[in-house]
């Protein structure tokens, strides 16, 4: 990242770090959701399985969006 404005580079890094922290939080929620859904299904209640899958899909799309944001910011930070 040589020959770039330090402030632009710093802003890019802060944005990337923030997005990564958010991704980690969403991932933790997804892990909890999977374990709760599995426990509920094994207990014989399959009513919550479909809503859980939909919500997990939404979380995954949010993570995917944040991932593309990180890639975009990383690329723009490297451009002089």
């Amino acid at each position: 990242m040589a020959n770039l404005e330090p402030s632009k580079q710093r802003r890019g890094l802060v944005a990337i770090d923030g997005a990564m922290a958010l991704i980690v939080i969403l991932l933790i929620v997804q892990i909890w959701l999977l374990s709760a859904t599995l426990e509920t299904y094994l207990a014989g209640h399959s009513g919550a399985v479909l809503p859980a899958m939909i919500f997990s899909g939404l979380l995954f799309s949010a993570v995917l969006t944040l991932n593309s944001f990180v890639s975009r910011v990383d690329k723009s930070s490297r451009r002089p």
Partner: protein, 139 residues
């Protein structure tokens, strides 16, 4: 090039060997984020698998068996039996002259064997004082 190197200098092989292990192990932010996205996809696929299993898994059909004679159990009496396998303990209660109910004897909490309390007219778990309705088995 000096033939003798001082002890504080880097060894000669480090000058000539161009592969640096620390650089090889370095993970960029983009790579780490991709890994997290892959983990998120794995969680989503796990939920999808549970959904497919709940929709398409076939519940096994067990044959009906004779548990007791018609007037063998008195009103508010109990009979224990095993169904569908010898490891599945069940309890049958005659709630009135015409009505019989049967449930699995396993408590939904930690699988203790529940018993029928005629005094309270409910199923009770001795382990952690759980109670179940005789009418429909609800907690």
């Amino acid at each position: 090039m000096s033939l003798f190197r001082s002890p504080n200098e880097e060894p000669l092989w480090k000058d000539e060997f161009s592969v640096f292990t620390s650089d090889e192990r370095y993970v960029t932010r983009r790579q780490f984020t991709k890994f997290l996205t892959l983990a998120s996809l794995g969680m989503f696929v796990g939920n999808l698998w549970i959904l497919l299993k709940s929709r398409f898994a076939k519940t096994p059909a067990f044959p009906s068996i004779e548990v007791a004679e018609l007037n063998e159990i008195p009103v508010r009496g109990v009979k224990l039996f095993n169904y569908p396998t010898p490891q599945d303990h069940c309890i049958m209660i005659r709630t009135s002259e015409e009505e019989y109910v049967a449930y699995s004897q396993k408590c939904t909490h930690l699988s203790c064997a529940v018993y029928y309390s005629a005094k309270n007219d409910r199923l009770e778990c001795p382990c952690h004082q759980g109670f179940f309705s005789v009418e429909d088995g609800s907690v």
